[in-house]
Symmetry: D2
Subunit: 338 residues, 4 copies
């Protein structure tokens, strides 16, 4: 049994981690921290965990816990305060923030607006997308869990980049549910403001753009990635609609074949004909639908649950791999369907 | 032309007032105040008013404006700071807060948690529900515009109280859209929290309960009113579902007749067969659907747009009456339909 | 291992049953029928089951399947065509329709508009609400799984009826998500019609009213039950708001104590302070929040996921009990939380 | 006073036309047809029009009406059955279907799957986008009202095409509310299916693609238009997100200037900084937000209410122009705001 701790357990990804681990037959949740709620029962903050998580929040992981692996569900900039210490304690770490995803300190500085304080570990961290980096994850002590948008986007585009079929730039128009904005109320996520609207934000300026660009270019050549996120009035789920030219004309059938081969054997990635969020909500699955729009223009629609495959589910998937457990343990169930 | 000012123009009711007045052929909006946004263009806060309201927010109405009537879209407790001064200036006032709705200071103190600082005017204020108090409104200098829930609830029950048909207590189970909670983001109105939920709150403890009870008992006898509000994930609209016993069995047909006669000639109240919000959204109309549930048990469903008939539209309706304008001027248009 | 079949697998409850059973460690799903989709893969209809249910739909259960227990996810009136035959084959049956819930044929005829064709089994069927009828369910061959509204309503009111505390009639104002209306598109569930509305329907005329009334009066005395359902724009979940007088004044604290004792030891019923749907969505849990509204007036808010505790989850719970499996097997996980 | 008729008045665009005309000071609605609802009061189908439209539906416009102008709110393929006859009667016609938008019969045949039966008038019809073709509209007897997606898309891109700044292909990723799918319930618009999802459909295959491409290329050069529509769970509104390269790098400021000049003096098009639907819902306004994404990559976000500026509001705008009325008469009001 692997004992795990969650640092930063107040937010949505922290609660979701606890939800997954409480039914995980290879992991025990032994500690959960929250600066603001230390001392309170976890289920007083996450009511749906009543009867499943009987811990009180601690203020920090301080070494006297029975913990083998720690999930950091902390904000960007906070994770790198914790990582060196946790690694020194010999713990495995899966960081859900953006702190260890970009391998170049200058790029980090540009997009996160501050210097990186733990460059040694930045160089050692493995990007936690199992479908692409399973082997490295299995040997890593520190995994940088991908962002929600990058998970959907990279899975959408990896087969084309890996086959060196991309000609020119790629546009990613992504639509996210509001839980992606986190647990703190804001004007943007105030229901009267967002409930019947679609909002474009940070086009070309979102931190997930360099992350997507970096990973895809590790797989193959192709032009720049331009990322344009939108907020839509659903709670959970992301649909990433990706547009690009392939080098030579391909039919939808040829695209579907390429994708089916690329993801053959993958438990959590499915090639479908239509882009839609519904079937993946509540699950760790990703649906990828490549379509020929005419000529060499290709659209790929990729959908995930942003809190599961886009965050906590994938973190558990990585942790399973790191700990030698079956990769799907605790996360291998279908979406809600309705 | 009546010149009007809006005090407290940052919120939803303030914006809605401006929206209605900008197309009102008998009123000009000459001043709009906001403590927090003084100096800024109104349309920088309310983007949809661009091209319609060219004012900048002022910090207060100070007497040098060209104003005949003031709408107070200020919070409870703040309105009574403004009213004495405005009345002294000879202005007509329509107050959208709860400050002047309860005619008994002790009741105000109990439900609003503080003493009333303007008891003289409290005694003079007229309750601004035109369908019941049209004559008094026409002579009033100060009108207390009804709350959103009370508007729906009182219009639902007035015909039965007025005919002295109510036997015992009345239950009002009301469902409100999230705009009723105001413009400030809260945990309750954070989309991930409320977007797929229904939340019961303040059952028997909401300030609108004594308001409904007070007005209905001015019309006739009957037991106590118990009010139970709920938040539902729509932006605009209230459905008040009211349950009671009538003294003698009545069929749905008899109820429909009673209601049709009571509201005969009313432009903004319609007797319908089904309770539903859809048809009234975006309008000043109220739909009332009385139904026999069996025996002497009666249900009455009443729907309004909480920001129009439930707030700003009704305030304009009252102002029209106070100023001798046609009652429906500026607010006589159908709902959106879709 | 219990082999189970699902008859009528095209709809939401059929899909939900399959979703639950595919991760149930004591049950195997060996057959799933659909008249309209016979021959097609189940996952072509329920995309979210891809990788979890590898069956094709059959046209019927005909005896050559390896089946110990059958779930009937068939419409009212259709289940009673199947039940006699399945019972004769020695199978256990959990019927999710309304066909065997009312023990009086005359009442069935009145509310379902047709005679009952299987009165022998009608008399033998056990009402499948484990928290009240666990023992009988454990010995039953045929269980009538409760309706979604009755599950929420009866769990809300059982403690008061059982303690003989109810004085006079009970009003149940229930709010349901749209999945309760089933998989077939209708004008009422067309998104532009329902997406920003609340609709009251069948007040005092819904078939769930006599079902609630029947079961509650088996527990104790009290006046009639009046049931008033509403459609709200959420997909999953029911909040039943129940209003009544208790015989003697009770504080909220006393009510909470009574409920906590009544449901002590129940895995799936929780006494809470606030009525809200959010925490139970995606789970088999029910939250019940009793509140004193003032005087002897009591409100009880009860929330469930209509497709889980209100249908398929409860059906699995009953099947577990009938088969001697742990009651929570396959359904003991928390709600989604977000 | 211009007397107008509406053919095909059962649907959303027909109801919306009636809603606008009933408050239009230069038009009277004298006839409204519906094959399926002939003889019934209009307000029995469109409940929100009660008190505003007192007509019964007729089965057709047959010449004895007092009508100067007809709006065809009929499906594609049906309009061209009506147009020749109506034009022969000397009436002005605004057709809201796609029948007269494509000026090339071969293109029509390809995208609409049938031959065009009224090629003479096809050649004479004027495309009803006032901001681009105001003069032609003023002289036209037959106006082809633009589609909802094309209105948003063309207004987004016209300034760049007209200035010959577009380098290569254009991607339009559009998000539409469900009212765009029309009044008939379908599986796609069934609330449980669409309420928490985003669905991509007809990418590169939608009939609005050639319409957008045709009109933009009348303004200037540039590559092909690729159109990718999505359904989002809002009722009203479209956000079209357009992506392209400009020939030389432009800052967001330069783009804003270009757009502000291009739309200078336009009452219904506003250049904004952020793409969002909220402010235009319920209005005839369009917001256009051009943004530099980096390098020569530009995003333009364009939002409209699909039933107003995207259909019935624009039809009234065209009719005003055709009849010599002030262009904004009856449609010059702000959006709902909330």
């Amino acid at each position: 049994m692997i004992n795990v701790g969650i640092v930063g357990g107040t937010g949505y990804t922290g609660g979701e981690l606890a939800r997954l681990i409480c039914n995980h037959s290879g992991m025990d949740l032994t500690a959960m921290t929250s600066r603001g709620n230390a001392g309170k029962p976890v289920s007083s903050v996450h009511g749906y965990l009543k009867g499943y998580v009987d811990l009180d929040f601690k203020s920090s992981i301080d070494g006297d816990e029975d913990v083998d692996l720690v999930f950091l569900a902390t904000p960007h900039g906070v994770s790198m305060e914790h990582v060196p210490h946790l690694l020194d304690m010999g713990l495995k770490v899966v960081d859900l923030s953006g702190d260890y995803r970009l391998d170049d300190e200058a790029v980090y500085r540009k997009w996160y607006g501050k210097g990186h304080e733990d460059q040694d570990n930045l160089a050692k961290a493995v990007y936690g997308l199992p479908e692409l980096f399973r082997d490295k994850i299995s040997k890593a002590q520190l995994v940088a869990n991908p962002g929600c948008y990058p998970t959907a986007s990279i899975l959408a585009l990896a087969p084309l980049y890996a086959a060196d079929l991309v000609d020119g730039d790629v546009i990613i128009d992504a639509k996210s549910g509001t839980s992606g904005a986190g647990i703190n109320p804001t004007a943007r996520t105030h229901h009267p403001n967002c409930g019947e609207s679609v909002i474009a934000y940070n086009s070309g300026k979102h931190r997930h753009q360099p992350e997507i660009d970096l990973i895809l270019h590790k797989l193959g050549g192709g032009g720049d990635v331009y990322f344009s996120p939108h907020l839509v009035p659903i709670i959970s789920g992301i649909l990433a609609s990706c547009y690009l030219d392939v080098k030579d004309e391909m039919t939808t059938g040829e695209l579907q074949d390429l994708y089916s081969k690329f993801y053959s054997g993958e438990r959590f990635v499915h090639v479908t004909e239509e882009g839609s969020i519904r079937d993946v909500v509540g699950s760790n699955h990703c649906q990828v639908a490549p379509v020929c729009m005419g000529g060499r223009k290709v659209a790929v629609f990729s959908s995930i649950d942003n809190l599961v495959k886009g965050a906590s589910g994938q973190a558990v998937q990585c942790a399973n791999i790191m700990c030698g457990l079956p990769e799907g343990m605790g996360i291998d169930f279908p979406g809600l369907g309705v």
